[in-house]
Amino acid sequence: MELWEARAPPPFWAEGPAPGQSYCPGGVGTASALRPLTRTLTPMVTGTSVLGVKFNGGVIVAADTMGSYGSLARFRGISRLLKVNDSTMLGASGDYADFQYLKQVIDQMVIDEELLGDGHSYSPKAIHSWLTRVMYNRRSKINPLWNAVVIGGFYNGQSFLGYVDMLGVAYEAPTVATGYGAYLAQPLMREVLEKKPSLTQEEAQDLIERCMRILYYRDARSFNRYEIAIATEKGVEVQGPLTLEANWDIAHLV
């Protein structure tokens, strides 16, 4: 009797599944076992909310100075704000290692641009647009930069405030917030801006301080020291760390 040589049907595409086989993209298989898996599937050291608000003549971005390791307040003196150039700044929440990577890439981009020596520098809108593409393309390869970034700046007489996150969701608004800030601080900021669409720098700083204090009360992963970056026509200035005083007067009512 003839021995029928059973030949397995060929895979649908190279490195792909054959009929009836299960398919793991990115290879937990023999063929692609040699490529490193470079995905951030779990954020490790994370930063919490970042807030941003526009005022008359500029933008403020604020973030506390803490990196949490799960629920452990592990690094309490790190900066989550980055001054890109004299017109742009950004603050990141989420995985701090991915933020450091982003910082390296952006710093190198800024250096390369300065080397061109043509007098142009990246506008906040340009950085926002570029970052959106980067984040979206990373997520499309199931290898996201696990961050939510707030980009603020003042360029050509106009304030800019934008948001990009690890899914590539991006938008611009007069107030932005990431993480818990989106739930706790955003409504407060919007309320103030509705009553008075054009704030002074002082008012904006007070608003930020108020919001950061509420986040410190209510966000279990926050910290009472924070930095702010202010972009105006004079440039970008990072101030801090500022300390929040908590008010426990209401405690006696309980």
Partner: protein
């Protein structure tokens, strides 16, 4: 079950900088599950003449990365014709730990002395970020230390004091 468990250093490691150098310390236990595979482990690995790393996490991962970094540093220092900077060593660790962050389980403290910046301590935890700190602790045993350290550490201690501090 113990054959499935990676060999891990269930560890306490720490490093403190002072003017003129660093003091580093570690426990000496390696476990597979709950069995103590090695009770005299040396978790303080030298990667160059005056640069050490304190290893925590998977023993295999940290040994592999430390070997690679030691090689890179030796090469680099020959090219440079001078001792490498501690920051360079830390950066090399970070590059491996960040790139392979999903495969590695490695928390490392890089500590050493170089002529440029004196004693320095850099921490490269899980996830692969790089941070310089006046002192650092790591490993699963480090959780118990945070409270003590926050109260007992003072900046500007000298070598003797650092030694006692780490010993405590």
């Amino acid at each position: 079950e113990w054959t499935q468990e990676p060999v891990s250093t269930g560890t306490t490691i720490m490093a403190v900088e002072f003017d003129g150098g660093v003091v580093i310390g570690a426990d000496s236990r390696t476990t597979t599950g709950s069995y103590v595979a090695n009770r005299v482990t040396d978790k303080l690995t030298q990667v160059h003449d005056r640069i050490f790393c304190c290893r925590s996490g998977s023993a295999a991962d940290t040994q592999a990365v430390a070997d690679a970094v030691a090689y890179q540093l030796a090469f680099h220092s020959v090219e440079l014709e001078e001792p490498p900077r501690v920051r360079t060593a830390a950066r090399l660790f970070q590059q491996s730990c960040y790139r392979y962050r999903e495969e590695l389980s490695a928390g490392v403290i890089v500590a050493g002395w170089d002529p440029r910046r004196g004693g320095q301590v850099y921490v490269v935890p899980l996830g692969g970020l790089l941070l310089r700190q006046p002192f650092a602790v790591g490993g699963s045993g480090s959780s118990y230390l945070y409270g003590f350290l926050d109260s007992a550490f003072r900046p500007g201690m000298d070598q003797e004091q650092c030694f006692c501090f780490v010993g405590q």
